[in-house]
Symmetry: C2
């Protein structure tokens, strides 16, 4: 049986499990408890079935029409999410347990009592949410494992230029364009401009992995720039949020972020090389029980991810750093093999959830707010694409065979960060509903357009001469 | 960045993430929300680090002193759980967010606000709980994959006798002993007797796998009997719970359980052979994207687990059935290899959580309730062990080289189900606190004694002649 539970809390399990709703003396105690654990498990199992079904259906269809599978996973997510089937939905604005088809299904098939539905819905959503976050952590760990620290350091200056230009150009063009072309006041314009800055590293990295370009020079520049971009995005968000509140920038917060981000990136790599790498190798060599290569690695991955979260950076930065560090150990190839099934288990949850959370109703032209936003959205989309595409051409040095266009295109997808800006902006009253809708449209467009574009630009003439062979590691 | 969130719900993330608690207009909205998602993630990451650390530390120590690693994982769990370090604890009787060291650590290191601690603690506990349930699901799927349906059917009658004797003997001996030796009234005695019935399949199966005896005849009889036992345990619980309530047995509930359990076991195997097996093989052959072997299998595993939960059986029965079915496909060995890392990721969570939930304070002789319970506990432990050990000697047929003692010993660990009985009994007022404590002591003793015993009895004379070689599949 599933749960080792003592005392009162043991009650939830047997009661619902046995359908003994006819036992009133048990029902009272159980109702006082949070969520019935066997129903939460049932909801999670059903959600995972839906997630894998959607991800494979979309992925396979896209693979057949020669589009990147990850695009199919996103579209599959949209299909089962808030925009269509309502199977994978999350509590939030306008969404309650009644809107979840999975909860309805549990009520119908498993005898979930309607009064317990809200708690089960909340818990199940929380679990799926965390699984999707573990998914992107595993994805970035995989990316880190397949990257080479030396190569990243080598392309570092180029990546830094790409990152900075890719933040400044769309921010400036977006803000000024909104003010001068659309007459938007300065603060909301700055907000919308800021929403254009940060690249969504997950989507680009997945496509690069799918087409085997992750360890090419272009791929490494894109990954390096996207990581820096992520850090810059967090800083820009802090600046803008503090501007929106007081009209001035809180220097202490910004300084704290800049210093902690720098310390984290440099510290984890130095510590990684001189402490974690030898520690990991000797631990694994000493251990006799099953799973030593994978579990020891996961301890480092989760620990660095935790530290990144604790200092208010992103968990994925820690996971990426852990990947870079463990890529230098003597267990790299074994680790890569063992991470694969785990990533296959968790990563699709991330992409399907990203799709499922995308609310396509902002695209509905019947809604006047959306119509107002359409012109702004078109402008933001153009700025978002052009502002990143040009970054490829800022790469300096010996760039003879480098596919500069590919680098720029790799930086296009926005995703999550843009939506966080939209959320903060609309809640604080800084953004009008139409500008808010326009930002969401921009995120949708860049997220869905980048994967196919990226494949086209990489398919160009011949393979790059500077490409590092996958097997060379 | 981690979350694709729209509208208001986007707020939780950036605010805490940036430590912008100085933004009052954001704080209000965020406080209305459930739990801050980046803190929940941080809590889960930290919990997983603790879980893996405890499981590997315990496992490695046990491997070195020649005890089963799984015992070490349980002990590691006890160490980090409610009995000692309070790192992995779950909301329930007397445990709140203030009792969780991980929550304290988050408040200290990551700036978690105390007023948000309860929601974060609840969500984080829910996630770890579900991960541990997914762990035992994966474990039983692995066990199913390594079992052979034909072999199980062959030993079926023997397993059935072992299961029935192993339920009837301890139940009868326990109930009568308590009534006649200890003067316990009939209803609580029946309750305590019932708590002696169901074997904890997870612990035995893990030890069998560790010593490579899973596909031996003894191993298959144990697994088969433990699965039947699990079903019988659910039925006994329904009978006893209804007895405790009305003083009579609700026939309709019992009939429903017996019929649905039978229909599920037979139905899933028939359906599995003639529908799922060919469907799985052709699906995998058709698919072109990464992870097709594993993900397609997981869809079946999670779906059957869901069905088992929905009809008020155990999710692990569905996972075991899925394993049996997919073991017959042409992808078995590839699947076994790919499930390994996933099981390594999830299964330790189960064992550590089992240990962490074990409250050793019932063993404290300073508490008068425990002292009263000690004699009862000693009696229950003896009945629990003897009642199962004799089952091995009921195996009939050609049993020349069969290690009968090993079969009986394999049935000893009780674990979860016993605790569910204790919980239901004490809550309904049927069990006195001392009998309740005695049941918990019995569960602790059988759970922790079985793994080393099992290794000793299997180490006996020579390997059995009837043992099926692992590679012969």
């Amino acid at each position: 049986m599933l749960e080792l539970i003592t005392g009162v809390s043991a009650l939830q399990a047997p009661m619902f499990k046995l359908g003994l709703t006819s036992l009133p003396f048990l029902a009272t105690a159980a109702e006082a408890e949070a969520a019935d654990s066997s129903m939460v498990l049932a909801g999670v199992l059903l959600s995972l079935v839906v997630v894998y079904f959607a991800s494979k259906l979309g992925g396979e269809l896209c693979a057949r029409i020669n589009l990147p599978p990850v695009l199919g996973e996103l579209v599959g997510g949209v299909l089962v999410g808030v925009s269509a089937l309502h199977l994978i939905v999350f509590p939030g604005e306008g969404i309650t347990a009644d809107d979840s088809l999975i909860i309805k299904f549990l009520e119908f098939t498993a005898g979930l009592a309607p009064e317990g539905a809200i708690a089960v819905f909340d818990s199940q959503s929380e679990v799926i949410s965390v699984l999707s976050e573990l998914g992107v952590i595993l994805l970035l760990f995989e990316i880190g494992l397949e990257s080479k620290l030396d190569e990243l350091i080598r392309v570092g200056p180029q990546a830094a230029v790409v990152a900075v230009v890719g933040v400044v150009a769309p921010f400036a063009a977006g803000t000024f364009g909104l003010v001068y072309l659309f007459g938007v006041p300065l603060i909301p314009a700055i907000f919308a401009g800021a929403a254009l800055t940060a690249t969504s590293i997950g989507i680009t990295a997945k496509v690069l992995a799918e087409i085997g370009q992750l360890s090419s020079t272009e791929g490494q520049i894109i990954i390096g720039a996207a990581v820096l971009d992520d850090v810059l995005g967090i800083i820009v968000l802090a600046v803008v949020a503090s501007l929106a509140k007081t009209g001035e920038v809180e220097i202490s917060n910004i300084l704290y972020l800049i210093i902690s981000a720098g310390a984290f990136l440099i510290g984890s790599i130095v510590l990684g090389r001189y402490v974690i790498k030898p520690l990991y190798e000797s631990l694994v060599a000493e251990m006799k029980t099953r799973g030593q290569v994978l579990l020891t690695a996961l301890v480092f991955v989760f620990f660095l991810s935790y530290i990144a979260t604790a200092i208010h950076l992103e968990a994925i930065l820690g996971a990426f750093a852990a990947g870079l560090i463990l890529a230098e150990t003597n267990k790299r190839s074994e680790l890569e093999k063992q991470v694969l099934p785990l990533a296959d288990f968790l990563v699709p949850v991330f992409f399907v959830v990203v799709g499922a959370r995308t609310d396509l109703s902002v695209l509905n032209p019947a809604d006047p707010t959306n119509r107002e936003g359409l012109a702004v959205a078109a402008f933001l989309i153009v700025v978002a694409i052009v502002g990143k595409v040009i970054t490829g051409f800022t790469v300096f040095g010996n760039t003879g065979k480098l596919k500069k266009l590919a680098i720029g295109v790799g930086m296009i997808p926005r995703g999550e960060v843009g939506l966080v800006f939209a959320g903060v902006g609309s809640e604080s009253g800084v953004l009008s509903p139409s500008t808010d809708a326009a930002i969401i449209m921009m995120v949708i467009a860049t997220t869905f357009i980048a994967p196919p574009l990226l494949r086209i630009v990489f398919r160009d003439p011949a393979p790059t001469a500077t490409e590092t062979p996958e097997s060379g590691s």
